[in-house]
């Protein structure tokens, strides 16, 4: 090829590629909207919805279950086409905003509880309140769970998974350390004593692990202070409330375990995957967490269900709720929202089918029996789900009974406003007490409170 032709070809190619980037990003949402608008004009016109968090291909059993559920759902809903978008992890901060900006966000997108209020405040999710009459399951969902997705009287999403924070522990290590795994710690003094015994097993053994970096320290500080009856912000949401006896107790307890007892290991600044890895390696005794931790440790970090147990958060009257769910693209049409709600109800909110089809999960060799989803409390569907879970259990359910029992008396509590900003601030006192023996707790809490007051003042 002549150099001149090559130059023209290259330039044209680059121009087309660049134009392609622009046009794709720009046209997708509009195209979808116009399709949707057309659909809204004609009754029962076909509607297509894209849905996030389809299990990825490297998880073939759950991916096949999703496909089977889509096929079963579309039989009575021939006008709806569900297009699952697989991804692992289902949401990452780096891609969330980029997908929105590029018009690539699914019509029904996946979220963690932590991000819900931020998304609502930014106007990045559709108000689905007018369409909720078409979701009969809604009346049975726990009010505190649905409130995660509410702002004022408006609802912006539906939950998929809900749990409260407890204490995850390694039963095998408890036995090795001469502790009774069927009598897990009930108080923080019990935790401290157990941690000392586990750490005494030898080098590398950590009695109790805690986060302190990447905003996860602040997240677990919130869990701990809630459990002790304290709060992060005042009820009006205008001032920090953690510079309190409860906040001080959280940090003093950690400082004592880290420096006096030497039961928290030497490596700190831990983040989510660090504690998962440590728990999976069988050298970590206890950590704040919920049954989903055990599932993750088993699925990804080579732990065994038999070795772990979960109990309630020590001395807790309140517990930070965690979980995930789905929200709707603000550009989704009313028909897409209605179709999305129908799909979510079928897949995630109906006992015996979709994610609650425990019989199928057992037949597929997937773990059943973890009390990792509590959407309905003690209502009829809630009881039915619990019965089905027990009936088809494949994991030792008795290992998680202390958690179930403790949670009956615990009230769920939501994350504070401006959660991520506040967690980033609270990482500092958490990392300070775990890395500095002379950390001044009063000073740390006072400094952090001033910073959080400033954040809240700007947002109000």
């Amino acid at each position: 090829m002549k150099p001149r032709n090559l130059a023209i070809l290259l330039s044209a190619g680059i121009a087309f590629a660049a134009a392609g980037c622009g046009s794709d990003a720009g046209s997708t949402p509009d195209a979808k909207s116009s399709q949707g608008s057309a659909a809204s004009g004609a009754a029962a016109a076909p509607v297509t919805i894209t849905v996030g968090c389809k299990p990825p291909k490297n998880n073939p059993k759950e991916a096949a279950q999703w496909d089977a559920d889509v096929a079963a759902f579309q039989k009575p809903h021939p006008d709806i086409t569900v297009e699952g978008k697989d991804a692992f992890p289902c949401i990452v901060p780096e891609t969330f905003q980029a997908k929105l900006a590029g018009g690539e966000m699914e019509d029904v997108f996946y979220v963690y509880y932590t991000d819900v209020q931020k998304i609502i405040a930014a106007g990045q999710a559709a108000d689905i309140t007018p369409y909720l009459d078409s979701v009969p399951a809604l009346k049975n969902i726990r009010p505190d769970v649905i409130s995660v997705f509410k702002s004022g009287d408006k609802v912006y999403g539906l939950p998929r998974v809900n749990y409260s924070t407890g204490l995850v522990y390694n039963r095998k290590l408890f036995t090795q350390a001469g502790l009774d795994p069927d009598q897990p710690p009930k108080t923080w003094a019990d935790v401290q004593a157990a941690a000392k015994k586990i750490a005494a097993l030898g080098p590398g053994y950590v009695g109790y692990g805690e986060y302190s970096a990447g905003n996860t320290g602040g997240w677990h500080f919130t869990s701990s202070i809630y459990g002790r009856g304290g709060d992060i912000v005042t009820p009006d949401g205008k001032k920090a409330a953690f510079n309190s006896p409860q906040g001080k107790a959280v940090l003093e307890n950690l400082k004592q375990m880290r420096w006096t007892d030497d039961s928290m290991g030497t490596k700190q600044l831990l983040r989510w995957e660090d504690l998962m890895r440590m728990m999976g390696s069988g050298k970590l005794g206890m950590m704040i967490g919920a049954p989903d931790v055990v599932k993750e440790v088993n699925n990804t970090f080579k732990g065994k269900f038999d070795d772990y147990g979960v109990t309630g958060l020590p001395e807790a009257q309140y517990s930070l709720s965690g979980g995930d769910g789905y929200m709707f693209n603000p550009k989704a049409t009313p028909e897409q929202i209605k179709a999305g709600l129908a799909w979510l109800e079928y897949k995630f909110l109906t006992p015996g089918q979709g994610q609650f089809n425990y019989e199928r999960a057992k037949a597929d060799g997937l773990p059943v029996g973890l009390p990792d989803i509590d959407l309905f409390g003690t209502t009829e569907p809630g009881t039915k789900i619990q019965d089905l879970r027990k009936q088809f259990a494949t994991v030792p359910v008795e290992h998680f009974q202390p958690y179930v029992d403790a949670n009956a008396a615990v009230q769920f509590k939501l994350e504070p406003p401006k959660a991520q900003e506040i967690y980033a601030v609270l990482d500092t006192p958490m990392s300070a007490v775990l890395t500095r023996q002379d950390a001044n707790i009063d000073q740390l809490l006072s400094d952090a409170a001033k910073k959080v007051d400033n954040i809240l003042a700007k947002s109000s």
Binding site: L10, A18, L100, A101, A213, L269
Partner: protein, 305 residues
């Protein structure tokens, strides 16, 4: 010079101009490709980022102009001063450690008689590792318990360090990682510069009785002055954008001791969902870097590098 180059073309006939254009069409074609690439992948994002720093956007509706609000938000953030201090300290430490080490290494490699190719490969090897892998490798090296560095200190009967877990050593630890990851490129560039020095200069210096240190001081450094200056400026520009090390190793901790401007930018944009704040920080960093880039351009133009 300019006048003489332009003047003849003014008197060209239209036919001559057409011939000139036709002759250079290939060059214009290639130029267009580069221009389109720069426009879409470099200049457009830059302009977009500048606009973003004055806007509040949710990427759904039209952005709202907020004037200097984003700048006010980030400058009032308690981590803002820490981020700039840490970035400056990191840059300075990276210059002290990361700038000198590759140069010394290049001199040593240049002096070697055997295994030159093998050692060059070994020195360049870390550059070939994906940064995330290299950083995670150091996460294990720095482990205060079974980590490699503390094991070595223990063998020498020295007390172990907290490395990343201490406010006094965390930043230096990040500099060490950064130096290790990037020293291969610097070393090879210096080595190329050293090999271009005429050997007669060294021979003359030796005849004058100069030892190794004097040869380096009076021959090597003056002969590589320009490349040293350019590398200095390039390194300042690169190290001021440090992100991956604090992101993967410390999460900005302990106690904000490793929060850098780029890391704070990431926090604003992706953790807090405040792209305007992230944009404002980005613009500030860009202005500071532009000053260094201007110096670089001035130096390279004046010295015809």
């Amino acid at each position: 010079m300019t006048t003489t180059a332009v003047a003849p073309s003014r008197h060209r006939t239209p036919g001559a101009v057409r011939r000139l254009v036709r002759r250079n069409l290939t060059a214009y074609g290639f130029l267009c490709g580069a221009l389109i690439c720069f426009a879409f992948f470099s200049w457009y994002p830059m302009v977009r980022e500048i606009l973003l720093s004055f806007q509040k956007t949710n990427f759904v509706g039209p952005p709202e102009w907020v004037g200097l609000d984003n700048f006010r938000t980030v400058t009032e953030d308690s981590a803002f001063a820490a981020a700039w201090y840490n970035t400056a300290a990191f840059t300075l430490l990276a210059l002290v450690i990361g700038y000198a080490v590759p140069f010394v290494l290049a001199i040593v490699l240049n002096e070697l008689r055997h295994a030159k190719a093998y050692l060059r490969f070994v020195v360049y090897l870390p550059v070939m590792l994906p940064p995330a892998v290299a950083v995670l490798l150091f996460k294990w090296f720095y482990d205060p318990g079974p980590g490699l560095f503390n094991q070595i200190l223990a063998l020498a009967h020295l007390p172990g360090l907290s490395w990343l877990d201490s406010t006094s050593t965390a930043l230096v630890s990040l500099v060490i990682v950064s130096t290790w990851m990037n020293l291969g490129t610097g070393t090879l560039i210096y080595l190329a510069a050293l090999q271009s020095i005429p050997s007669e200069l060294y021979e003359a210096a030796e005849l004058d009785g100069a030892g190794l240190f004097k040869r380096v001081w009076h021959v090597t450094i003056p002969q590589t002055k320009l490349i040293l200056l350019v590398m200095l400026l390039l390194q300042i520009v690169a190290t001021m954008q440090v992100f991956i090390e604090p992101y993967l190793l410390t999460g900005g901790g302990p106690e904000n001791a490793t929060v850098t401007v780029a890391y704070l930018m990431y926090q604003y944009a992706f953790s807090f969902g405040n792209f305007g704040g992230g944009g404002a920080l980005g613009l500030m960093l860009m202005i500071v870097l532009m000053v260094f880039s201007a110096i670089y351009l001035r130096v390279s133009r004046d010295d015809k590098i």
